[in-house]
């Protein structure tokens, strides 16, 4: 490693003040600090020792937590592809097709968003933030597999600029960056983001009689059609048991690339909770909120969707992924501990309300997270005011 270090030390003066490539110092620094933890020591005053954690380690933990969902997503894109075109295929073929579709999306998302990060860091002279390690992956994972690559790039650029940089960069953003990317595409190019986009077909056609519907689409239909049997039964019978509860929990169903598998997402949730990087309060309360709202709708029971057992909401659509990876983004979530309970719970509640009661949007988690991102500061405001009030009341005693 000494060779590498020497090489870096040799190049460093070029990028430092007065050097030829001074402008690109932060790009150089990003690479240098990626390879070597810097030799900076604590100042004269203040704490002389520091915890081994840094933002890089925290962010890479989130990326690792997403790996099960990503890997499963790669397999599943291949799996659903062969399902849709009605061909048999073995594991390897499925993975190959999946990788062929998913990896370019991941790469484009990282490249486009990363480029914007570097440009802003260079112009504004601030270090490149590691948050994009997570955002880049998140953006890719929540997209439909059929999305054109230019749209991936466009949404990543839009999200980084509008959701993050205009607010002052990492740590200052109000909205979750990845959800903004998805919402942008959803409203700008609805044809590519909803409807029949969830199966990657390549240059082939659906097999005869195969339907491209998703569980959420099926559920939305149940609102308007009279049905003689419960929605869960309708789902279970659909296309040879494609949407049985267990199939949906495992995630062998069409949907956004990495968000179909409840089980893979839960593996990620365990990593986030054990490492303490993601707030368990938000995750638990989001699931509690969705479940509670599901139960309330069961009581109302005006149509078959309302009668759907509340726990079905965990496994259909992108709820689990959103609750675990999007809602827990520390910057855009509530910052106070009490606030996190309220914030997560309302995300769950609103997701189910949008799903069941609003026929225009089959999936609710995206808008629920963005909506609660906007309200998080308000929740925090009341928690902070309560803290101040306690202090004031003490004074009069």
């Amino acid at each position: 490693m000494d060779v590498l270090r020497k090489l870096l030390d040799k190049q460093k003066p070029l990028f430092e003040k007065g050097g030829k490539l001074e402008k690109f110092y932060y790009a150089f620094e990003a690479g240098e600090t990626f390879l070597f933890t810097p030799n900076t020591t604590a100042g004269k005053h203040g704490s002389h020792i520091h915890d081994a954690i840094d933002l890089k380690r925290m962010m890479i933990t989130v990326v690792i937590a997403m790996v099960p969902a990503l890997l499963f997503g790669i397999y599943n894109v291949g799996h659903t592809h062969f399902l849709a075109v009605g061909e048999q295929a073995d594991f390897l073929q499925k993975v190959l097709i999946g990788a062929q579709v998913v990896l370019p999306i991941v790469i484009v998302s990282y490249a486009a968003g990363g480029l914007v990060e570097v440009i802003f860091a260079t112009i504004r002279r601030h270090p490149i933030n590691e948050g994009f390690l997570v955002t880049g992956m998140l953006i890719a994972i929540v997209m439909p597999p059929t999305l054109p690559l230019w749209q991936v790039a466009l949404s990543a650029i839009f999200a980084v600029v509008i959701a993050k940089e205009v607010f002052g960069g990492t740590g200052m953003n109000v909205l979750n960056v990845a959800m903004t990317a998805r919402a942008f595409l959803y409203f700008a190019y609805p044809g590519d983001m909803s409807g029949d986009v969830w199966y990657y077909l390549g240059d082939k056609q659906y097999a005869d009689g195969f339907s491209g519907a998703t569980p959420l689409g099926l559920a939305a239909e149940a609102v308007s059609t009279e049905s003689v049997q419960p929605l869960a039964a309708t789902m279970a019978e659909f296309q040879d048991g494609l949407f049985t509860f267990w199939n949906m929990a495992v995630g062998l169903i069409p949907g956004s690339i990495g968000s179909t598998s409840f089980i893979a997402v839960m593996l990620g949730a365990v990593i986030l909770i054990v490492t303490g990087v993601g707030s368990w309060k938000i995750i638990v309360s989001a699931f509690a909120g969705a479940y509670a709202m599901g139960l309330i709708l069961n009581l109302a029971g005006a149509n078959e969707y309302m009668n759907l057992p509340a726990y079905y909401h965990f496994v259909i659509g992108g709820f689990a992924f959103g609750a675990v990876f999007m809602a827990t983004d520390p910057v855009s979530a509530a910052h106070t501990e009490l606030g996190k309970w309220v914030y997560g719970f309302l995300i769950g509640v609103i997701t189910v309300i949008i799903r069941v009661l609003n026929p225009a949007y089959p999936e609710g988690i995206m808008l629920a997270v963005l909506f609660m991102n906007v309200f998080a500061p308000l929740i925090d405001f009341y928690v902070v005011e309560a803290n101040k009030k306690r202090r004031l009341q003490r004074a009069t005693v």
Partner: protein, 455 residues
């Protein structure tokens, strides 16, 4: 039975190189110094001696023009050899070349029974002149107490939970009578109470148990349970408009000596500790001692950092630097000025972490494991990202993240209502240690305090 307050939140940093409870005489230092920078509230220091003047221990050599009744005295007798100034002629150190035998300035001597009848005015006059007054630190702000104030209460923490902290039972060995006398004097300054925070885990302490005239409260829990600010928060918190005074047990005993012995006695027991010290233990010396003789031959490596005070809040000093006025500890840790290949992702059980993010496995170690930590920042400064983490190491009903942001935004109302009156640097030192984004949080707190003091 004293009340027992159990604190849950916090984090005890178990560093290698804790001191054995043996005390030796340190080789006497050639020079001793008074550092005006030790007194955070001091804005306009004025020096009353010139280079070449001879002084006795207890001769006033410095005062603050904004509070000119408080005298800062020479710690030993000898000749003023250097007045060291920094940028903009900022006064840094007043160095005294010590005599072989310390010659003391004489003040009025009292007997234990006289002390009971002593008035506040007389006590105050002697303390202001006799060099011990700066031991009284005012909260809010953590600055030297103003003699014109009458504090609501006075608080003393008799134990220190910070890394490598010395044991006050050792520091005050055999000085129980001076400590009691000091308490007797302090009682005259407040209409409230004198509170003593006691370590609930400690064995019955000869010095601190059964102190007459003071209210004892036991505390247990991880660091910062020993911080006086945390103890105040749980006994009788500081509200807007309140003024309380704090003082450490050494200061109390020093006040006791001023009255019982009639001298400004600056002998003190200090602790030399840390992973780089060959044999960590206690030494007898005087306030403001140059550490060169004390450390001589006891440090194993050259690339080390000397800290006057503990590793969380102390001041980095040179190998020939001087012990700070309020410090009883010299910590010696490795200087971490080297690069580490992929240091941010390597799994490790050797580097201590409060977190459990990928590869940070120190939580698997036994709680008795001792760590060698260096001064490396272990990352770069970033924006605030992680939330809800500072609260876990601050056992107070305070929202640190909001307080820091209020200070950075210079929002005076928020600083006040979010509790800046209750906090000084040492209370949030752990927040700085565990900070993912590597902010200078203690610096931010001092900046906030200075803003509030200006108004």
């Amino acid at each position: 039975m004293p009340q027992h307050i159990k604190l849950k939140r916090g984090f005890t940093i178990n560093l290698a190189g804790k001191a054995e409870k043996t005390i030796s005489d340190a080789p006497p230092s050639d020079t001793y110094a008074l550092k005006p920078t030790d007194f955070l509230g001091m804005i306009r220091p004025k020096i009353t001696v010139n280079e070449g003047d001879t002084v006795k221990a207890g001769t006033p050599i410095l005062f603050d023009r904004q509070m000119d009744s408080v005298m800062y005295c020479a710690p030993v007798s000898g000749e003023v050899v250097e007045v060291k100034r920094g940028e903009k002629r900022k006064l840094l150190e007043i160095k005294i070349l010590a005599d072989k035998e310390v010659d003391y300035e004489e003040y009025k001597q009292y007997s234990v029974t006289d002390l009971i009848a002593l008035s506040r005015e007389d006590a105050q006059e002697q303390m202001l002149k006799g060099g011990v007054w700066p031991q009284l630190v005012q909260r809010p702000y953590g600055i030297v107490a103003d003699p014109a104030d009458t504090p609501r209460d006075i608080f003393i923490s008799t134990f220190d939970t910070s890394p490598l902290a010395p044991d006050y039972d050792v520091l005050l060995k055999g000085q129980g009578n001076f400590f009691s006398a000091g308490i007797e004097v302090l009682k005259k300054f407040t209409e409230g109470k004198v509170h003593i925070g006691i370590d609930a885990k400690a064995e019955v302490s000869s010095v601190f148990s059964d102190i007459k005239g003071a209210v004892s409260t036991k505390f247990s829990g991880p660091h910062p349970a020993g911080n006086v600010g945390v103890q105040i928060h749980h006994i009788a918190p500081i509200n807007k408009g309140d003024i309380v005074w704090t003082i450490d047990p050494y200061g109390v005993a020093q006040i006791g000596k001023l009255f019982l012995k009639g001298i400004y006695d600056t002998t003190k027991t200090i602790c030399l500790a840390g992973s780089e010290v060959e044999k960590s233990q206690y030494y007898h010396t005087h306030c403001g001692a140059c550490i060169d003789k004390i450390i001589e031959g006891k440090i194993e490596h050259r690339n080390v950092r000397y800290i006057s005070g503990n590793v969380l809040t102390g001041e980095k000093i040179e190998p020939d630097g001087y012990l700070g006025y309020y410090n009883h500890l010299v910590s010696v840790i490795p200087e971490g000025n080297d690069y580490e290949f992929l240091g941010w992702m390597k799994p490790t059980t050797e580097k201590l972490s409060f977190h459990r993010a990928l590869g940070l496995l120190s939580f698997l170690n036994s709680s008795k494991k001792e760590y060698v930590l260096n001064s490396n920042m272990k990352g770069e400064e970033r924006a605030f990202v992680q939330t809800g983490i500072y609260e876990k190491v601050l056992p107070m009903d305070i929202l640190p993240e909001y307080l820091f942001k209020a200070i950075m935004a210079e929002d005076y109302d928020e600083m006040e209502t979010l509790g800046l009156y209750e906090i000084v640097e040492e209370d949030i030192a752990l927040c700085e240690f565990i900070d993912v984004s590597k902010h200078d949080l203690q610096g931010i707190i001092r900046q906030g305090i200075n803003l509030l003091r200006e108004t």
